[in-house]
């Protein structure tokens, strides 16, 4: 077996009486594309925030790239990339300026930033738009750019929180090509999504219901276990029992 880069053991987050994530335990291996599924309000984002060091767990253990989520958040931050649901590049900066800024913040040298930005712009086909404000790009391109910026420092793990919300199927497909590229380079992908076709693209997926992980396996095995013809049915079977929703 390959090494695990994300390990959690009974990781729990409470907000007062409300248990957002309840004792979740799983492992994600290096270079794996791990799908993190669940209905709205199931606790996906909370779990992800704990793994990124944005939120302190109430109890349980977790290590990211070998670093502890309680004590070693600084080291964790150097080893992860993050892309949130909201589009989060600076709209009033140009494509190049955004790349330079985030490259700089992640501590790349000027030379690295230069080669990276040329490479990145070529990969995304943004040569014409490099000096235009990000605000003028279509959403699909913005998302692709955000992803590329999130992995600009070649992190060990990248967390994607519903990265393809509101994007058309063709662009989504292209987006996933970028994800595969990154995974081939050895970057571990941790992705949440609502699209079941995307779930099929993942190596393994977990499905969360009401704060707990109810299923965790490869898409093929899950379909077999639930005697379902596609992931939609699996998800529906599990999510039907959910008591809370947004």
């Amino acid at each position: 077996m390959s090494e695990a880069v994300i390990k959690t053991d009974k990781l729990t987050k409470r907000f007062g009486d409300f248990i957002a994530t309840n004792e979740i335990t799983f492992e994600v291996n290096k270079g794996e594309i791990f799908g993190f599924l669940g209905a709205n309000g199931a606790g996906k984002t909370t779990a992800m925030r704990m793994l990124c060091g944005l939120s302190l767990p109430s109890s349980g253990e977790a290590t990211i790239a070998g670093f502890d989520v309680y004590k070693q958040t600084e080291q964790i931050k150097k080893n992860i990339g993050y892309m949130s649901q909201k589009f989060s590049l600076y709209e009033d900066l140009t494509v190049l300026e955004n790349i330079n800024f985030f490259g700089g913040i992640y501590g790349l040298t000027d030379k690295e930033i230069k080669t990276k930005s040329i490479e990145l712009i070529e990969q995304l086909g943004l040569q014409q738009q490099a000096k235009k404000l990000v605000a003028s790009l279509p959403l699909g391109w913005k998302q692709k750019l955000s992803f590329s910026v999130a992995v600009i420092h070649e992190p060990k793990i990248v967390f994607l929180d519903e990265p393809t919300g509101g994007v058309d199927p063709v662009t989504r497909r292209q987006f996933w090509d970028l994800i595969y590229d990154a995974a081939d380079r050895g970057v571990t992908i941790f992705v949440t999504t609502h699209y079941m076709d995307e779930a099929e693209y993942c190596n393994r997926i977990s499905i969360m219901v009401d704060g707990s992980i109810q299923a965790l396996d490869t898409p093929a095995n899950l379909k077999k276990a639930f005697k379902a013809k596609d992931m939609d049915e699996v998800f529906y079977e599990l999510a039907r029992g959910a008591k809370r929703s947004e």
């Binding site: 925030r49 931050k77 989060s88 600076y90 009033d92 900066l93 330079n100 404000l133």
Partner: protein
């Protein structure tokens, strides 16, 4: 360090690309200084008055000549009846009427007592008070003139000197006030809004996940506004020296040092507001209402603090602008050195440290 520079460069790019912010940032101080300088002055110049001279003798004529010579008054016309006088006062152009009764000279010389009636339009009480006191001063002046000829043994003449501002110009009062107001607004509002904006657009989350520490984020957010505010201080001072003829009597380096301190105080308040709010509108409202109003009310530049009820006087002590206003007045107008303002400086330092500590305590390093 390099990360810092990259961040600061990015902040400048935000400011420069946003025309509205730029306009507020650099337009507001200039407009305010000019408005306060030329429109809102407490001096009354060239007030239109009427004179009703029923005496028509040598004394009344001499006094009228003195009034006419003064640059505060412009004698519009001489009226003949009370009815006429009332009519012109009602029209509102005329601010004041002076009435000399018949036998003015006679009363003065033989009874040693003569009366002048001064009727002022008190719908604007401040200028009415000012104008009547000018008339009082003119008659006083005339009296001392004739006293030297008729010797009276006991005499007390108050020799009044208006220190630091002998011409009683308005500028010395409001330039420090506008400086306090503008810096307060620019620093508090701009910093608060620029930090909250990152929260609103979600970029704050990305920054917090990055290795760039939250403390550094805050500092690099504040530095650009510190620089921009110093530019503002410079432009206000240039305007007041070259356009409003107001000299800087004290040490200009000290003035800049104290201004930097006040700017930092304001920045920490801005940071505190941004820590406590999540939307740009709320941040803007709090900065405007919570900062501008108390600054105008309690800094002492519009309303004298000494006249306020005790509780309000106590409240005024926590307004940083009050202390900065005192400092700027001391340096600019009185030309005093640091030994005269160390207490005020210390208070500003105290407020700054306090705000910084509670902001850092409240700053959510983790977004949950």
């Amino acid at each position: 360090m390099k990360q810092f520079l990259i961040f600061i460069k990015k902040e400048f790019a935000h400011v420069i690309r946003d025309r509205k912010t730029l306009l507020i940032l650099f337009g507001m101080p200039i407009v305010q200084i000019l408005i306060f300088g030329f429109a809102l002055t407490s001096e009354v110049k060239n007030a239109k008055i009427v004179i009703m001279d029923q005496a028509n003798d040598i004394s009344s004529e001499q006094i009228i000549a003195k009034i006419k010579a003064s640059r505060y008054f412009e004698v519009e016309k001489t009226v003949m009846s009370h009815q006429q006088m009332e009519n012109v006062l009602k029209q509102g152009d005329i601010r004041l009427a002076v009435v000399f009764p018949a036998n003015f000279n006679n009363d003065l010389l033989h009874h040693n007592l003569a009366h002048i009636q001064v009727i002022a339009d008190a719908s604007d009480p401040n200028s009415a008070t000012t104008l009547t006191s000018y008339i009082g001063a003119i008659t006083q002046d005339y009296m001392t003139g004739i006293l030297t000829t008729n010797n009276i043994p006991y005499r007390i003449t108050p020799e009044i000197r208006f220190l630091y501002n002998p011409q009683l110009k308005g500028a010395p009062n409001y330039v420090p006030g506008v400086m306090a107001l503008v810096l307060m607004l620019v620093c508090v509002m701009m910093t608060a809004v620029s930090i909250v904006k990152e929260k609103e657009t979600g970029t704050m989350e990305i920054l917090l996940v990055s290795p760039f520490s939250p403390f550094k984020i805050i500092v690099s957010k504040a530095v650009p506004y510190l620089i921009l505010s110093l530019i503002n201080v410079t432009s206000i001072l240039l305007l007041s020296v070259f356009v409003l003829d107001m000299p800087i009597n004290g040490n200009i380096l000290l003035l800049f040092a104290e201004s930097t301190l006040f700017i930092i105080t304001c920045l920490t308040i801005g940071i505190f507001i941004s820590v406590k709010t999540n939307s740009m509108q709320v941040a803007m409202l709090i900065s405007l209402m919570g900062m501008m109003l108390p600054t105008i009310l309690f800094s002492g530049f519009m309303f004298p603090i000494e006249n306020m009820p005790l509780p309000l006087q106590v409240i005024s002590n926590i307004i940083p602008a009050k202390w900065y206003y005192i400092i700027v007045k001391s340096i600019m107008i009185k030309g005093l050195g640091f030994s005269a303002i160390w207490k005020e400086t210390l208070i500003l330092v105290g407020i700054t440290v306090f705000m910084l500590v509670i902001s850092l305590k409240n700053f959510k390093i983790r977004l949950s």
